[in-house]
Subunit: 267 residues, 4 copies
């Protein structure tokens, strides 16, 4: 009995796998998650829902069955972990982060069945996409990017603050200059923010554009300032990645100098 559970645990728990990578069972589960998300996306399209109606229902049932079996199997295998041993341990497992995520991946099925309101239905369909967060269990990859960003959180926060001020002042100025001529688009600062964001991020939809001469002059300066708003975070991230890479190389290329300074720096 216990040997069965140990085997199951080795196959299901990513950390239990030697040599990194995913076990065959987990790779299968990951594929099912991605396919389920794809089905959830396509099902929102009316045309496809009409044509392949039964297919979508059958697929959803299969996904829910698979995720339910996975949920129960993980609950059973959790006993291998010292923290989750016994009945009280299992209850503790039920309230662990990943167990709740796994439960949330099964629930939308029952919610969608009962929804009749169009908006709620769309919202419940969206919940299915949250199944993608189940993939988080398998991934240790985000750490590197997350660390690079965390190392520069100070500078990135600064450039965000600068961006916020730019957004605020450009929308305030255009509110003052254009409110009279385009009350719908520039009648208040929150309204002018829509134009301001589209311009400073260089998206530039063009649905709202200043029409007075002064407004255009100021909008031109805003557009030019937008370059800086893109250049600053890019520059900071470039420096962060370059730095992370150099640190990584120094660690792997020169292990023969175990002096205290290196030890400190790599910590």
């Amino acid at each position: 009995m216990n040997r069965w559970r140990a085997t199951l645990y080795r196959h299901l728990e990513p950390r239990a796998k030697e040599g990194g990578g995913l076990s065959r069972v987990n790779r299968l589960i990951a594929s099912v998650i991605v396919v389920a998300a794809l089905f959830a996306i396509l099902e929102t399209e009316e045309a496809l829902r009409v044509q392949g109606g039964t297919l979508f229902i059958v697929a959803e049932v299969i996904f829910v069955v698979i995720f339910s079996i996975e949920y129960l199997a993980r609950l059973y295998a959790a006993g291998e972990d010292v923290r989750y041993r016994g009945v009280i341990g299992r209850i503790r497992y039920l309230f662990s982060f990943w167990a709740i995520i796994d439960l949330l991946a099964i629930l939308p099925f029952f919610l969608t069945a009962g929804a009749h309101n169009a908006f709620l239905l769309r919202l419940f369909r969206l919940l299915r996409l949250l199944r993608l967060s189940k993939l988080g269990r398998f991934s240790k990859a985000w750490d590197l990017v997350a660390e690079s960003i965390a190392n520069r959180k100070y500078e990135l926060a600064l450039s965000m603050g600068l961006a916020a001020l730019l957004l605020l002042f450009s929308s305030s100025f255009l509110y003052v200059l254009e409110a009279e001529h385009q009350p719908e688009a520039f009648g208040s600062i929150p309204r002018a923010l829509w134009w301001s964001i589209a311009t400073l991020t260089t998206v530039g939809y063009g649905d709202v554009v200043p029409i007075t001469v002064l407004g255009k002059i100021f909008a031109g300066f805003t557009a030019l300032a937008g370059i800086g708003m893109i250049a600053m975070p890019t520059g900071i991230l470039a420096a962060a990645f370059s730095d992370a890479m150099r640190k990584h190389k120094t660690q792997s290329a020169s292990p023969k100098q175990p002096d205290p300074t290196t030890a400190n720096r790599s910590g």
Copy 2:
């Protein structure tokens, strides 16, 4: 009496706080500034002004009272500083940079009350946003970014000059090619600049677009040149941040080599 003033000074003057950070009183003031700015932004929206009219007036009175108390408290506490001691010192304080900023944060209240012209009213509302500059007293953070940019002011000025020339020549060429067909949008070089800025910054509103074949060919080259206009400042800032970070790390990681060269470089 003097002990009271000293305590007040320690709580109000950011530089008097040990260990960096902000005192509880200053953190409260900073929050009030941000909330007041938020109210100023939301008040410009007609719909909200109609619904929550009294709320906005009450809030504004509260903000002005708080800022007035702060103003008087700072004026009193300034006596702890050798420069602002006595009556003449206090008068000198009234004309110091931050005291004027603090006064400007109180004034808009009285100005808005008297304004009847719609444009002036919008302008006075904008003045309330300038209260955000009061936050500048608490922040030593901009220095790092400002220094990074100042270190490369030469290259950044060059890339700005190049950008100005690009803007000028692209708008001149489109003026020559499109003026006959779209006199409203390309009838003069200043008019063509609006298109030119939208294209070279890659904003691309699409409200003005060349329609002749030659105009489109030239506009295509302008759009391609726009990539360079974004790439250059980004590249320069990336190098600047990378450099600043390396210098910073060298200073903190290797303090054991106090040779004159290092001392010079870090200066």
Copy 3:
């Protein structure tokens, strides 16, 4: 006889040329390929096809004759290579990668002649552009860029994954918020993706734009997130190129330290 073949081989085979660069014959062929592609592009324009009809046909015949002669000459000269000696060797050559590419460059001529369907005709015209792939034989230049990118394929894949999630979630949210008001543009997640891509890449056509207040607020955050989506790959590539350049310089500037560490690193 064999001396003729050897001379032909030296002129046709890029690897047989000493000192790098292209032989005069290959430079001529490369020019013909570029000119042929230019003609293929211009021929798609109705106005030019009507005016210069005969010119396009004559030019196409000349290109096909040149490429046919090149094809036969390469087939003959292939005998210099040990792998392609004799009749069986030549048959093996016919199925080699570059021989198939060369054949594909001749075929569209005969296909276009027989096509009457407008869509097929456009498709066959497109095949002529594939002649540009013949240039691949001459170029060893892509390797450097390809290597720089390959060195960071891990980080680039991560930023692509992050981009995919951003696209998915922004289009899902706008589907929930805007589907009722703009069913044509936001009626399903795949439909909302069109808006999502245009916004996150900062292209911003403006043909589809959210109209509800909540939709605009969320779209604003999406546009701001788009800056990160551009900044991350740019930062990664900047670090990659900077790194490749430093490695390259270390190799060429300090060949006097042949210690095992350096040898390993440069490998």
Copy 4:
């Protein structure tokens, strides 16, 4: 007499000034050039030309007089240079690069007076802007940026080639997919290029947008590829500037190691 000429030469010839910078006379000439360009830009605007008609004519006469005096003064002072001594030397000077530029700055005045055709008139007005090239004599600043770019011309050419292929293939595919539905915008590859450039540079005017499902899918991938098209040159330039800065610092910070390796590298 010769002492007069020597003084004039010292004031007019930028290279003759000790300690770098510009002499007071040259600074005045540079200001006049900038003001003249500004007048040329503003004069293209009908509204301003009507209001300030006489002002523009008077200003233009003053500029031409100043530039003529400058031209003659430089011709006279050129005698201080060994190459331009005597009558034959002066004739040689007349055909030197900067002398021709100076002459071209005077000519447009006489050309504009005689033009009656609207297009030619606009073109002659544009020639006045070329007076800005007179500033080139004073500037040694572009060298640094030019060198940084020249150092990476190989990689930049590669990324341009990649961009050209991207443009070509995206416009070809949209030509195949959309030509039937939008013959005006996608009826040929050159026409589709207009859309292609607007999308890949992330300008996104939105005047031309694919309407078929397949066209939108392909356009989405094109927009995503556009990120790479911006990221690559940015990354390359970031590395170039970072590198130039490091080399510059190594040269100025450590002049005490005159070993042959450093000498080579800095060459």
